[in-house]
Symmetry: C2
Subunit: 148 residues, 2 copies
């Protein structure tokens, strides 16, 4: 699990969303810090704490396998030397849905990354349903706000 090194918070975020789209549990857990303080709030869910609760929640979510494409949009990034905070919209598209089908609601997520001895890792993921599709689909990669 600890073999992967993410040189930047963005690398960790890219790996997080690749694992989420592919329902890849080991890939997902490789992104999280090996820290008992990791926190995860899934949409409409409670707060999960620690590696074990977080792994179990993703295992349950991934059990049915990949069913949706994921597009991450409107990223706002706040970056310091040891911590980075990214806010994004997660837009899921169900596989096989016809063009006229209702799209699932977007999810707004706050992701916090920590610089560890083994590179950048996720320490907080807080996701909740957003009430309506945001107006503009801006590019995912906006210039981050750098604090140093």
């Amino acid at each position: 699990m600890s073999a992967k090194i993410f040189p930047t918070a963005q690398d960790a975020e890219n790996a997080f969303y690749e694992a989420l789209e592919r329902c890849d549990l080991e890939g997902m857990m490789a992104v999280w810090a090996e820290d008992e303080d990791v926190l995860c709030v899934h949409p409409t869910g409670g707060r999960l704490t620690g590696q074990d609760q977080v792994r179990e929640s993703w295992a349950q979510m991934f059990a049915a396998g990949p069913r949706a494409r994921l597009q991450v949009t409107q990223q706002v990034a706040i970056s310091a030397m040891m911590l980075a905070v990214h806010s994004v919209f997660e837009n899921f598209s169900l596989e096989g849905a016809a063009p006229g089908d209702a799209r699932p609601l977007p999810i707004v997520a706050t992701n916090v990354y920590l610089r560890t001895a083994a590179g950048w890792r996720m320490i907080v993921h807080h996701a909740s349903p957003a009430p309506a599709q945001p107006a503009a689909a801006e590019p995912r990669q906006a210039p981050p706000k750098l604090l140093h």
Copy 2:
């Protein structure tokens, strides 16, 4: 608005929740960074960006005046030199409710604070309803995880 200086992220958080309980709009906005990148997600709401949207949302929420007591519990704090992330439960108790009345669901919130030239200020508040009352009401002030 910029007169208040919060020497620590915890001071900013205390002021945030005092303002929230009192429905004090100026007190609330004094906590937020004067930054166009501020982000706010209210429970079941979309993502608000910038001082104007954030102020307007609190103004609407505070219009009816204080109606609930607020207890903040189970804080987990992750602190770096320039950024701090606090995860808390917000427990509201409606004024005048009888002891047997159903309690409102708790809110889980991720709060991000930025060290600015004018002290610590809030830059992200992401709140969403938690499905059930957490098991244990731990003290609000747990020792923060320090990264430096």
